[in-house]
């Protein structure tokens, strides 16, 4: 909590002051983790590949959080996209990022990012002040960090490491565990977040190779999210296998109170 006499570094988003900002108005709090990008790259998929193909040897010693997009027809799309045939295509273990889709026969470029954070992280931070944000205006100081050899005054957002005026992707909590089987129709993983709004999140599951993959988003694989909890639910009948190990990362992503 702000004002709890614990030493910390705070920055507020554009238009707010740390003197009276609530948690929604801050862009950084040294008690909150961000999601640092460790590595990024591209990988061309074609029908000569035989899975698994190692895309990148990260060597972190743990399975890192990752994200993959694909390019088609002049647009970039997030994966997994089972409709297009780019399903749950990539996976990570403690050493590598892999291409794992043996059925895809087209040619595409994938773009991936690996983050310096283990998927296997259980973290539950203290509750936050849920006072609704109020609009303020006026100039303020700010903290901007550019990439090496780049200028913060160039106004190139892709070269900015951190800008305190901007909302950051801040992690609220994360959990990984063997799915709960108490509901006979669904495998579930629950986090009680008590944020007061429905947070954005990322979800992963562990496959039969003990590698982590991103979950698809379907009416049979989806989350029930309230202002106090998130329950990731997988239809047992559709899943077809035993109870999976699941992982969730929740973000402090209040855009409005919905």
């Amino acid at each position: 909590m702000i004002g709890d006499n614990t030493p910390k570094i705070l920055t507020a988003r554009a238009g707010y002051s740390v003197d009276n900002a609530n948690d929604r108005e801050l862009s950084f709090n040294s008690e909150w983790p961000l999601l640092p990008i460790e590595a990024e790259g591209t990988f061309e998929v074609d029908n000569t590949l035989s899975a698994p193909e190692t895309i990148y040897n990260h060597g972190l010693g743990y399975p890192p959080v990752f994200k993959v997009f694909y390019e088609y027809g002049g647009y970039l799309y997030p994966t997994p996209d089972s409709d297009f045939g780019i399903g749950i295509t990539c996976s990570v273990d403690s050493n590598n990022l892999y291409w794992r889709d043996v059925w895809f026969s087209g040619t595409l470029d994938l773009y991936w990012k690996i983050y310096r954070r283990s998927i296997e992280t259980n973290q539950d931070l203290d509750p936050y002040d849920l006072t609704a944000a109020t609009t303020q205006s006026g100039e303020q100081g700010k903290v901007i960090i550019a990439m090496p050899n780049k200028d913060v005054d160039d106004n190139n957002p892709d070269e900015i490491v951190f800008n305190s005026n901007w909302r950051q992707l801040i992690i609220d909590s994360s959990k990984y565990a063997l799915a709960d089987t108490s509901d006979p129709g669904y495998y579930t993983l629950t986090i009680n977040h008590n944020l007061g709004y429905r947070p954005m999140y990322w979800c992963y599951y562990k496959d039969s190779n003990n590698e982590w993959r991103q979950m698809s988003s379907l009416d049979v694989y989806r989350a029930t999210v309230t202002t106090t909890s998130i329950v990731w639910k997988i239809s047992v009948g559709t899943w077809g296998g035993g109870a999976p190990t699941l992982a969730l990362i929740l973000y402090k992503s209040t855009i409005n109170s919905a």
């Binding site: 040294s30 990008i37 490491v161 901007w166 992707l169 429905r198």
Partner: protein
Amino acid sequence: MPKIFDENYNLVRVGEGTEDVDNLDPEDFKLHSGFIYHGVPKGVGETDDLEGYFTYTSPSNIAANTTYTIKTITHNLGYEPDFQVFIGEADVSSNTFSHLPYGYVSTGLYYKARINTTVLQIYIDNGPNAWSSGFTDKDYTFKYQIFNTPIKGHS
């Protein structure tokens, strides 16, 4: 070079608690200038806000093999930025909140999002089945964020 993290770029390092930052592992830093973090830019020439919330009602008829644009957000960043979009099915099932692409099994009906160097487009991508009930005239909510980081990475 795939690796972004530059351990030697020590311009700013923020740890937690009383531990000396020189003793911390990279995972322990709350902020380290050698990394890059996802932020939602403001004041960088964008036409529309780069994060937002809106509601949408699906068409009263959804034709087969047809796409329907739900919303176009103009970011004008000049490159393809990372993004995320979530859908809430206000009518179909309360409290569902799912990332795009989101689909209904065995229907061919998907809600999707894609981005290029100027716009984020959120749309319905319907397959071979036409719909006049079930998925039509339904209320949805969407949340989106467009980040500063390029999907294609830093050259």
